[in-house]
């Protein structure tokens, strides 16, 4: 009996120890990253490159996903429940679902796939080819040089992207509303403007900032601790995308709860 309990505890113990070690490592990584985000020197040139990579080059993906999201919501809400008194209902459903949920979440997931993977691969390659060691021997802190610019850019750029996504998504709903469902354009725009709430948009942008942090953090963290050649880098890439996606969905719920639960 005693042996059974012991072996059960042992079986439980090892993964648990590993889990807490990982958690500890991650916490330390976050602490160090944040510290280096707010202390000089800042690498503005690297920051600029990240703005371009994360923001500008993600515009097509974000635009495409949000425009179709807006379109499908317009169609669904019309066929589903808003055939009568439709303009205002469809317009406000599109508005709320795009700004609160669809633009931040879809953009977050898209950028996680695009950027999280690229970051993990780049930093992971630098790790396994000893470029990170080389940085340190040249008296340059890798957190300052590699991690901080990415995280700062992620936190700033994602809200901008999502704001653009909001506009494009609402436009997608408008196109379907007017050209397919035959609503009056002026009325549709009017109901959109009337139903516009600051909180809907702000909550979406806050989500975006958090997602930006999650994506860049997971990309950097997984890349930074990758080991053992090409295979290690491949694993890091997968882990970065999967963990960022899951965390995005979890934090999406948490933030929604914080904003709207009462």
């Amino acid at each position: 009996m005693e042996n059974k309990i012991q072996s059960f505890l042992q079986a439980l113990g090892k993964p648990l120890v590993v889990f807490f070690m990982r958690l500890g490592n991650l916490t330390m990584f976050i602490g160090q990253s944040l510290y280096h985000c707010i202390t000089p020197p800042f690498y503005f040139k690297l920051l600029g490159r990240q703005f371009l990579d994360i923001g500008f080059y993600s515009l097509p993906v974000v635009g495409l996903t949000t425009v179709f999201a807006g379109m499908v919501i317009a169609l669904q809400s019309y066929t589903g429940f808003a055939r009568f008194g439709a303009e205002s209902a469809v317009a406000s459903v599109v508005l709320i679902s795009v700004t609160r949920e669809l633009a931040p979440v879809l953009s977050g997931l898209m950028v996680a796939g695009r950027i999280g993977a690229a970051m993990a691969a780049e930093i992971g390659t630098m790790r396994v080819t000893e470029q990170i060691d080389a940085l340190r021997t040249l008296s340059t802190n890798p957190f300052k040089y590699l991690v901080a610019p990415r995280i700062i850019a992620g936190i700033i750029v994602l809200p901008l992207l999502v704001f653009i996504g909001d506009v494009i998504g609402i436009f997608g709903g408008y196109v379907i509303g007017v050209y397919k469902l035959g609503f009056n354009p002026a009325n549709y725009i009017n109901s959109t403007l009337q139903n516009m709430e600051t909180l809907d948009i702000v909550s979406g942008l806050v989500k975006a900032a958090v997602f930006g942090f999650i994506i860049t953090l997971m990309g950097c963290y997984n890349g930074y601790r990758s080991r053992g050649g090409a295979q290690g880098v491949g694993e890091a890439t997968t882990n970065a995308v999967v963990s960022a996606s899951i965390l995005i969905l979890i934090f999406n719920y948490i933030i929604t709860e914080l904003f709207f639960a009462n």
Partner: protein, 254 residues
């Protein structure tokens, strides 16, 4: 003359259960060129990384210019790094930066030299290692292995460090290129008056660049002496290693 630049005592490092360094004692005098030889996987690279603070030793002491370096904070670490240059085994060139930016990295980031000036200096150092100025604007991936080694060498010496580490500078090069790199190492070390610690298992290279040779085996320095002493030594481990024989006290685990 004889002034100890690097003093290592009782250095230990293990990865999990695998003990790599098990009490290394080694002194490097100021201005000398010490070569550490030893089989693959005996921990030569780990030794260099411990000295540079890239790996945290499990025990022992490393003093540079009489100052303890194990466990110092980041600011101290940076100050130490600004005294050192390193040629990595795999080159470790930054592949997102151009050749000249690689060479000038320490000048720009550490010595705060303006970019223009740093570029001129980088081109000068590149010429010193035998690379034409038009290489400066290429990316490392566009160079051959030998050229990459030269760029790494240029990056290691560009900041005029007091101590330079070379991790297998000639591995993977043809014999002639290897000798060219040997000459460059001798020139740049002597030119800077630097202290050099080189790792290699290329005995021709070791004989050429070493003032003194030390052999690492099973986590300890088992022999050290000059090149002359190397040829006369009775130590069977050393003899087996320099003769490159599979017969002898060193057993290779397959």
């Amino acid at each position: 003359m004889s002034e100890t630049k690097i003093k290592i005592t009782g250095l230990r490092k293990a990865f999990g259960k695998k003990v790599v360094l098990n009490g290394v004692d080694l002194d490097v005098e100021k201005g000398e060129s010490l070569v550490v030889i030893g089989g693959s996987g005996t921990g030569k690279s780990v030794l260099i990384k411990c000295i540079q603070g890239l790996l945290q030793p499990d025990g022992g002491s490393i003093q540079i210019d009489g100052e303890e370096t194990v466990g110092v904070n980041e600011r101290e670490q940076n100050r130490l790094h600004s005294k050192m240059g390193m040629l990595f085994q795999g080159g470790a060139l930054f592949d997102s930066l151009r050749v000249w930016e690689n060479v000038a990295f320490g000048l720009i980031e550490n010595q705060k030299m303006p970019r223009k000036e740093a570029r001129t200096e980088a081109v000068r150092v590149l010429r010193q290692v035998g690379l034409a100025p038009d290489v400066a604007d290429l990316y490392p991936s566009e160079l051959s292995g030998g050229m990459q080694k030269r760029v790494s060498l240029a990056r290691a010496i560009a900041t005029k460090p007091e101590i330079i580490f070379f991790d297998e500078p000639t591995t993977g090069l043809d014999p002639i290129m290897a000798d060219v790199i040997n000459d460059l190492i001798i020139e740049s070390v002597k030119g800077l008056g630097a202290t050099a610690l080189t790792i290699t298992h290329d005995m021709a290279s070791a004989r050429k660049i070493a003032d003194r040779i030390a052999m690492l085996y099973q986590g300890k320095i088992i022999w050290q002496g000059t090149v002359k002493e190397l040829d006369k030594t009775e130590n069977e481990y050393v003899r087996q290693f320099i003769n490159g024989s599979s017969q002898g006290p060193i057993k290779v685990e397959i």
